[in-house]
Symmetry: D2
Subunit: 353 residues, 4 copies
């Protein structure tokens, strides 16, 4: 069910009453009736197992009867993207993709080829990343390419290869979606859906993906701000799906030495402003294998919960972005150094022993 | 029919044979058979009434029999977005929206409210812009908004208002599309479709819009380059639809004094690099009424074929971007100054006497 | 005399009393004594022939005796860079370089080689630009170069060539200064001094140049904002030198198709916000001869008072930025089209008949 | 002695012969004579205790007699800024400021107030940063401010306070220089000189500072690229001063949530491209105390050798940038977490036990 219809009203609300699952639904319904009778009708929102009531007239809170249950928290609505604000869930959101949890304090590495190309490539790469500690497999089957003349991905045929790789390695699989009408069929088989940077403000796609109920990796557009990314995440949260990971993958700047400029300030700001976990893609950002390790280490030091790493068993034969993929031995080395750095930061690798 | 399937082959072609309508289809088919027998099979592309054959093996051209018709032009393929290159159509493309032509050397002004809000607002604004020389009416009914809590447009109800305004003023109507599945229904009634900046790389949407056959206003993403915009246009051209206008509406930079930084260098570069006409939206770029006139004058001086101007009869009551709309008297003043400047540039206003 | 010492006080002032030359100095001194006795001592500033008194306590104005002369204007201090605000001089500032006036409504073209290289090059280029209507000659003798291994200019030897070119053509000469200790010697011979983009916030240089009393062309740094440029201009105005031209020459953005992105929104904003005249350098901005004409036309349409154009009689032999210079016939063509466009904008070419 | 005069020749050289101190000067002179007699005269450069000969004609190397000493290394000249390239000194440069070494693998923290304001502020802040492990004291006495109406620093009076603070704490002192004519007097007392972002391309200042022989902290301009910063460093190296630290402090982007966007990709690239040590200033970059810790951790994870941290005992009373300074307890917490993270990265804190 979409929560969108009444949003115009909500935009004027000023205080948010948050009820955790310890409060009964009957108690919350009592609040709704009280607010209606006080002349400030409201709309109920859901964030995981919490229920949220925006209240525009603060006086109505003070006149509530003592029979109404106390809200777990009262929070000032500080911006348009209020469902994602950290105040609503101070302990943070945990996103579960199959057996993998992102946002529990560990460092989760999702890895794989930028594009699914051949059975051999996918199976070999999946085996390598699983062996060295990745907890998720990412491979693109629908590729949004700048030019229509470029390789557009194996499409549905590629999806079968990902499913086979999951069966062999046990890793949950994540892939990008590019059209609303693909969502349903993808959602039947994958463990997580990625929305690419170019589609971050494709709101029809966001809504369709959120309604699938699957975990979502939402990549920041290279031309959009920290707050606009939170607002895009709000399109997902508003559908009642709180399984959302924000992913920084570099922004456009005047600097030509790397493909994009990785914005780790954004990572730090998101960790402070939102309860959603944060991922970083150092491969697309730097666009060079030599940049993946320093940017990965910097990303977890800045607070990132997860990393998304391009790995390819034969980068020189890749049909898409091969020049930025790590080779297997480079990935193995990275994982070792990440583990030691994580320890220095008081963290551990997801899936580690 | 999509021309997409064989593009991988085409990307390696080096020379383009262009056949204007003076060459018979039989002659072109002769070339296709010749190239196949010479071992370099190719694919036929269409650009308006021209047919284009990419040829990878230049020797095969020299061995062609004298019975084959000479190509109208031979052009080196200089980039991925080759269907849009000016060399293919040196005189430029003219795009026709109802009675209005964009790209014939005149200055065409499309105007109207950013969003369709009420019958009174649309009818009054349409009357004003028609009176002062606009040759198209633009009004948004589906509004892609950064926040899901913002006004999202009147949607299909708004479309009826635009149709009514067209009936009263005779102006062709243009509106933005945000979902592939809306394209068909919109295409039945409007004269032109706008693809917004946030959707410039929503390739599924581009393809659906192109296949409608309607004229398209393709807005440059505020985070994308001059060449990426040409590549997005290529997604449209590749479907056989050459009725494409590129629209510059400002890019993201570090400068905070205006909403966006209008990139008129892009306008000059597009006029040199592509045969497609170029539009400029000074309203969304500057975000302030006081900037609309200088930026409009500068845009046509830089070579823009058309302008897209926000006009509102009561900007202070607008539900969307009212703080950038011109009032009627400001629009009237602008049109007068544009006409005098156009004359100084050796041009005239579209629809002018 | 520097007006700098008491600026901390001034920063808190809220109202500016402007006295034009019709008010006697004795009258202004009366105001100073009145404000002191009212407990709000102030500091006198000069802007050309006007005198300005910042007043922090508005009540003190109302208690002024009727014997005090009325200020010509009262202006709210709206920003830190208040000496440059248009409200202080609504009719705009005219800057005089030798026989040339910038800011009188005309379009003034300053042209010449990016760098002075040889006697032949300078004399031939000067003759060409004079013949076709330029009203100033610009040539660099001290060249600030990104790399120390690049050609650094002919330095003092080059200056003599500029002087000789002035003698032959009658054009006033402008050149860039890069060190405070060069200012005095340069100021003895040139008609205007340019501060380059890389030195826009070299405040020691700004102060030294302002104190020379010469007209200054202050180029906007490619990494600085519209307001920061006004603040840099304030360093010049504060020394009592109002002969300042702001010059837009492109900013750094993510767009790689041109050397810089020309920001004509800045030109429009400056024309509204400051009384200083505005120049545009399309040569350094675009970095390509083919961009000079459209950007020049756009610049004057956006309101620029002057243009700075690279011209070289043999661009292929230039030691610096030759790939952006116009050839003589290109410059001639540009000047003709500028004249016609200026007429369409209700303006005329400086020096024209 | 400046090495600048013959640089035009050098720019065409293709191979660099590097002689470490194990090669006698007589041997190097032999090479110079050989190259002269072979018709490819060259110029001798110095990098610390190494001597470098650029050679344009590779054949001349092959014809060298066996009596000439073998170069320690032969390196291809890969860019304009070749004296700074890592290939010339693969083990990296160590910069010594008083007792502190930057670039030896440790993490060095330089801290202090943005501006020196009062004796109490400087002494208290110096004591705090020394107590918690800083190995250098930075305080600004000449402040380059965007507006001339802002506080410009205590100037020479402030310098005496820094000297006193050094006497009390033993910390070496670093301060910014803004005018070439100040260099000599500053160099007599401070341990290191900072060139601010606004002066990174103030080449006269760079040369004057380099010639002082003091260690230099060269801040990257917020509008300049990774390679332009290396080229600015080249102005310093060319004077025979290799005690240069490059400092990333954020660049200008479209993102408004922080003061600047910290570019840690630049840090990673510099560590790969140059032998110079790299510092990061998270205080000026983020502009908020809450961003200092995540950005500091990320900076050392990306490979930074040193950090520059704003600390103030009473930020709310600061005259300059107080809203970004850490309070003493925040600084103490940061230093503890830095030490643990450094251990996870296989490093240790400079000055630590």
């Amino acid at each position: 069910m979409s929560q969108r219809e009444t949003t115009t009203t909500v935009a004027n609300q000023e205080l948010l009453l948050v009820f955790d699952e310890t409060v009964t639904r009957a108690g919350v319904d009592g609040w709704i009736r009280h607010l209606e009778s006080a002349g400030t009708p409201t709309q109920l929102y859901r964030l995981g197992t919490s229920l949220i009531l925006p209240v525009s007239d603060v006086d109505a809170i003070h006149t509530a009867g003592s029979d109404l249950p106390a809200p777990t928290r009262q929070v000032l609505r500080s911006s348009d993207a209020w469902l994602g604000r950290r105040e609503l869930r101070p302990t943070g959101t945990q996103v579960c993709m199959g057996p993998t949890t992102i946002g529990d304090g560990s460092v989760a590495v999702i890895a794989g080829p930028c594009a699914v190309e051949t059975p051999e490539q996918v199976m070999a790469t999946a085996a390598v990343v699983a062996e060295h500690g990745a907890v998720g497999l990412r491979g693109g089957v629908f590729k949004p390419r700048t030019s229509p003349h470029s390789f557009q991905g194996l499409q549905w045929n590629g999806l079968e290869l990902l499913v086979e790789a999951r069966a062999r390695t046990g890793l949950p699989i994540v892939t990008e979606v590019v059209e609303p009408e693909h969502v349903k069929r993808l959602a039947e088989v994958v463990d997580g859906i990625q929305i690419g940077a170019r589609n971050m403000q494709n709101f029809a796609l966001l809504t369709a993906v959120a309604q699938s109920g699957l975990p979502v990796v939402l990549k920041r557009s290279f031309g959009c701000t920290v707050e606009e990314t939170l607002a895009a995440g709000e399109y997902l949260l508003l559908e009642g799906n709180d399984q959302v990971v924000l992913c920084e993958r570099g922004i456009r700047t005047f600097e030509p030495s790397a493909r994009f400029t990785l914005d780790l300030t954004a990572v730090a700001l998101w960790k402070q402003r939102t309860h959603l976990p944060v991922m970083v893609d150092p491969s697309h950002s730097g666009g060079q294998p030599k940049l993946v390790e320093p940017l990965s280490l910097a990303a977890i030091a800045a607070g990132a919960d997860a990393l998304l790493i391009d790995v390819h068993v034969q980068p020189e034969q890749a049909l898409c972005d091969g020049n930025q993929a790590l080779r297997p031995h480079q990935f193995a080395g990275l994982m070792g150094r990440l583990a030691r750095a994580a320890a220095g930061l008081g963290r551990h690798m997801s899936g580690g022993t």
